[in-house]
Symmetry: C2
Subunit: 483 residues, 2 copies
Amino acid sequence: MNYQLILRMVGRTLLLKSACLLLPLFTALYYGETILPFLYTIAIILVVAIPLSVLKSNSQFFAKEGFVIVASIWVLFCLFGSLPLYFSGHFNSYVDCLFEITSGFTTTGASILTDIEALPRGILLWRSFSSWLGGMGVLILTLAFLPNAGKRAHNIMQAESPGPVKNKFVPKTSSSSKILYSIYVILTVAEIVALCIAGMPAYDSIVHSFATICTGGFSIKNTSIGAYNSATFDTIISIFIVLSAINFSYYFLLVTKRVRSVLSSDELRTFIGILFVSITLITINLFVSSHDITQQGLGTTLRYVSFQVFSIASTTGFSTADFNLWPQFSRILLLILMVIGGCAGSTAGGIKVSRFLLLSRSISRDLKKLSHPRSLKVVKLDGKVVDDPTIERVLVFFACHATILAITCLIVSLDNFSFTTTVTAVFASIGNIGPGLDLVGPMGNYATFSDLSKIALSLCMLIGRLEIFPILILFMPSTWRNS
Amino acid sequence: MNYQLILRMVGRTLLLKSACLLLPLFTALYYGETILPFLYTIAIILVVAIPLSVLKSNSQFFAKEGFVIVASIWVLFCLFGSLPLYFSGHFNSYVDCLFEITSGFTTTGASILTDIEALPRGILLWRSFSSWLGGMGVLILTLAFLPNAGKRAHNIMQAESPGPVKNKFVPKTSSSSKILYSIYVILTVAEIVALCIAGMPAYDSIVHSFATICTGGFSIKNTSIGAYNSATFDTIISIFIVLSAINFSYYFLLVTKRVRSVLSSDELRTFIGILFVSITLITINLFVSSHDITQQGLGTTLRYVSFQVFSIASTTGFSTADFNLWPQFSRILLLILMVIGGCAGSTAGGIKVSRFLLLSRSISRDLKKLSHPRSLKVVKLDGKVVDDPTIERVLVFFACHATILAITCLIVSLDNFSFTTTVTAVFASIGNIGPGLDLVGPMGNYATFSDLSKIALSLCMLIGRLEIFPILILFMPSTWRNS
């Protein structure tokens, strides 16, 4: 293990992070709030990061160093990022701050706050901004700015990019990440402008746009987007939610006029199909069980249902209606959407649509093989053959996911909350969604959990956000053994 | 597809089934109850089966025929096996009878009966006897008695044997199944004798032994084994429950003095480890949360906890305490035990310990491969290398399991029962356990579900019992296409 290199890269990334703290600092200054929480944090980070960032090291860099760097940067970002919240004095304990910021960086959007609106604007901005930073992976951001990361970037990208199959638009990794990053910024600015034009206050627009494009879902209102009760806001946010859950490489393809490859994407078509079918089924379910919401007519029902479906399927977690009160079928369908998640290569969480596509195709291939042992079927995605090691990794990913779910459920169950609360809190954490059902429903929060559960759920968010393997590799003894 | 051969084999197996109905018929006669339900059923089966059993056919027989035969025999057994219940007039509808007998044949043990004790003894015996017949796979029974199945037996065994890796003790399949069948009968007789000596009435001993050795769990008491409140009965049943959840081939190895291969079995050691750890954790959990049961002292608590753990881990489903009222940690741990299930090659349901062993070992291999791309680790079980196709099939099995769980949850959720009831009912069905939590807890039953849910859950039991693939293959269009 090349410790010097790891520490130097961690140090440099932390320096970049301290620069990011200037945005909430200036916001606090603008609104006349105290800037001390941010100043203290920046000071602490500089003290730790400067000595690290000047460490000398050789450039020996392998896969395991990549995983360790990514995992430790995320863990440190959460540990240091929660300091402004802690210094603000608005939180009960450091664990609460850690939970809130981990939920931010991992774009989960789960909150322990019972009265969000009571918090200063600087802190709320940092909360949403942290999820925006997490959205595209802090490292890709780093890569775009640190050109000398160059050669090593590929290993880091592999540890961080969300999805089973890697896409590179252009040969150089740092150029690829610059393109991704530009798309990310353009989408964010577009949403801010759209919301401002529609009449949302500028501060609210910025914070909510940060929380949309990263599919995070932190709102500054206690009742989330529902607080505005505006069909226009709902529509604008819905559009950007869906755009953020789609593979970002499609935007690059669209710009370079490769429309056909976007339209022929299996994942995109499946994702849109899932959204359409879910909205239809839930609307029918609500009407059949004559739920209150349906008394406002089909149009309004569709508006609420589609917003909730978009928000959950994209793993954002904003809400305009309390789906916790919907009939059981709708609740369980939403839970399944949480597990599936968005498209690979987007900021969405969950297992990802393309993994499910590969999963269902390899199931169907294996069934055919059993009944026709001599058949030689291959699994394809977008017309290209997917090799067996990739499929096996998807299957192993799936198995890891289920195992971590079970273990975390056991830990959280020590709090003795209802079965539904326990299980859906873990689902909502590992899938980086935010709201679950019962106590952690869209109108609830994670305040009542014990510190142990909060730490377990935070770890679950990190595991989910980094697509499981990097965090697990961090805990494997073989990673630390010299071979 | 060789339809003639399939129909002939199905016909012959049905004839055997009608012979099995003589046992409950004579029981009913002995207790002076009406024998008409059994007579009607035997008559109907004979009318259908005799013409089928004399069909001429060539002996062309491939894997897909094997799967279709197994799946259709199980489906028909359930359809015809429920007739005595229907004719008895003690059930509300044919769907109820179908659910009850499917739950029997699949050794699930879930019941729609609210007052079991009100039923005639002949019907109750058929209910438990059906699960005993299901226990070892009706086909293995058939194979043992129909020597001319000879060559084709291998394909049928492959479709039916419970577990990821096949064991054959002796070269001829029919001899193997005779050995298995003898072990099965010996265990059953041993339990009957033990219970009788301990003072349980003969009828009760027989019925409960039928339900133990197949890990079914049908009791003739409304409060299951708890009704006797006897530490001796609990102990005897516990022993046989555990014996039934262990790979039956170990008994053959013990008889042929190959003790070392039994002791070195990874699966057996893991299974015993799981039981031990679960009992310890649940006992601690009950004491920490000062549950009522702990007021009876450590000894009694351990007795109740171990019985519930044995019963659930073996997927039997007998109960002596209402674990639905235990703290959340214990409930979720029991649910995880349900999913894991017993050992391969036993009558237990669930995913099986050996599959989980392969799963966890392939996860750890893949993690090592990610951090050390040039490592060449292989997955081993009992010291033998497991090849990649076997591992992939285990992973696909796991993915299928989760997918079917999700779909069935959606269907059952239409009844709008609680999240816990819905989800655990499906877990308890696909794992062939019986009791779940809430409404379907050990003191509850499946009576209130709609017909649609009962059919979906019955199908789920069949899918679980036949280890998923045969029933799915039955529904694949490619199975029915001529290639």
